[in-house]
Subunit: 230 residues, 2 copies
C-alpha cells in the first residue's frame, strides 16, 4: 500500500498545486505524509484540508526529536487539526521523551510511528548502530509502527521477524531514492512511502498507477506465485 | 548571556501574550529561541515579528533530523523569514544530511547549531553515547555552535576543551529543569537558554532581572574573584 509523501514543490518545476496532486492520487493512495516544508508553507490547517479532499489518513512527519513536553505540545496541536499519526525519532530515547509522547498520544488516539533507521548514508553512523534497541523500545512502548527504509531491506526483514506483525512497518526510499517499488513490501513492510516519483512527475496520475502495478507484480513474484498468463 | 526560549503558553495559565514577554525581556535577552509549538500556533511569520519587536537574533529550534533535502528545504524557508540560526540534531549523521544542510546554510549565512546532548534522561540511552563523535562532526563541519545541556556540566567542560572556542556552546536546562542560573556559563557555555522560568513566571520582567543577577554572581564566584563589598 502506498503512502504519498507531500513535499513541495509539486510537479516538474512546481507546475502543479497540492490540490492537483491530491485529486490525481486519492483513489490509489492509502494515505498521505506531510513534512515540515509543507507545514511551513501552508500552515497547520493543511492537515484538515488534505483529509477533506481525500478522505484518507494523514501522517505528520516532523521527525519529532525533542523533550517530552515539547513533543506532547506539538502532538496535541497536530491532532487538533486532524493528524491520524505522527512520526518521532526512536533515537531520542524513552525516559522523559517518548514515554510522555506515547502516553499522551494513546489517550488522544494519535498513532505514534518511530524512526528506527533512515534512507541516507549518514544514518549508518549513529542511528543504525541502535536499530535493534530502537525496535525493542518501540515494542515496549506499544507504538503503532516504525519507519525502516527500503534502502536497508535486511533491516526490514529483521524488523518483521522481531515485531511479528505487532508494529506496522513504513518504508521510504522507493523511487527517487533508487529502490524499486514493491521491494520493501516483499521484505515485510506494510506501507511504501513514495514522494517525488509521484509528486514531481510530469504525470502524477500515470506515475502512481504504474507504481501500483509494479508493486503488484513484485509482490506476486516475491511471494512465489506465478500466474500462468504472465 | 541569556537566550529566552519562547514556548507557549506564556505567563501563569497563559495570561500573557508573546508580545508581553518580548516587551518585558528584550533589553536583557541576547536573543530568542523559537520551537515547533509556537511555529504551529502562529505560523512562520512569527520569526520576523520577534525580530522586529526586539531587534535581537532569533534561533529556530525545530531540532531538524531529516535527510539533507528536507532540512535544506526547511532552512531556506526559515531564513526567508529572518531566522539567524537553526538547530539540527548531530545524531542524524553527516553524509547526505548535515553536509547538505551546512553547505546550503553557509551559502546563505544561516548559522547552524548542532544538538550534541539533551536535558532529558532518555538522552543518555543513545545520543550521549556519541557525544564526543558529534562534537567532532560539528568541528569538522565548521558549524556555528553546539547544544550541550546544563544538566550535564561535565559535558560542557569536555566540549569547551575539545572545541577551544571554535564553537559557541548553547546550554538549556536552567531553571524549570532544575539547574541554577550561571552553572552552564561557569562550565564553559556561551549562552544559557532559559524558557519557562521566565516565560511562565508571574512577573517575567522580575524573573529575567533576577536570573541575570544570579548569573553575574555565579560567574564572579566561579571565576575566582571575590569582591570586598560582598
Amino acid at each position: 500500500m502506498i503512502i504519498v509523501a507531500l513535499d513541495p514543490p509539486f510537479g516538474p518545476n512546481g507546475s502543479y498545486t497540492l490540490v492537483d496532486i491530491l485529486e490525481k492520487t486519492r483513489d490509489l493512495a492509502y494515505g498521505y505524509k506531510v513534512g515540515l516544508p509543507l507545514i511551513l508553507d501552508s500552515g497547520i490547517d493543511v492537515i484538515s484540508k488534505i483529509k477533506k479532499a481525500t478522505g484518507s489518513i494523514v501522517i505528520v512527519d516532523l521527525k519529532l526529536a525533542d523533550i517530552g513536553d515539547i513533543m506532547v505540545s506539538t502532538a496535541i496541536r497536530l491532532h487538533e487539526k486532524g493528524a491520524d499519526g505522527i512520526i518521532a525519532h526512536g533515537f531520542i530515547g524513552v525516559e522523559n521523551a517518548l514515554d510522555k509522547l506515547v502516553e499522551e498520544s494513546t489517550k488522544r488516539g494519535i498513532q505514534v510511528i518511530l524512526v528506527a533507521s533512515m534512507t541516507h548514508n549518514g544514518s549508518r553512523r549513529y542511528i543504525d548502530q541502535h536499530f535493534d534497541e530502537i525496535v525493542e523500545d518501540a515494542l515496549k512502548l506499544g507504538v503503532h509502527g516504525i519507519v525502516v527504509p527500503a534502502t536497508r531491506p535486511a533491516f526490514i526483514s529483521l524488523a518483521k521477524r522481531k515485531t511479528r506483525g505487532q508494529l506496522k512497518i513504513y518504508s521510504p526510499g522507493i523511487g527517487a531514492q533508487g529502490v524499486e517499488p514493491g521491494t520493501a513490501i516483499c521484505h515485510g513492510a506494510d506501507f511504501e512511502i513514495i514522494g517525488r516519483a509521484i509528486t514531481r512527475a510530469f504525470d502524477p496520475r500515470r506515475s502512481i498507477v504504474e507504481i501500483h502495478d509494479k508493486i503488484a507484480h513484485k509482490v506476486i513474484e516475491c511471494s512465489g506465485y506465478r500466474e500462468s498468463s504472465t
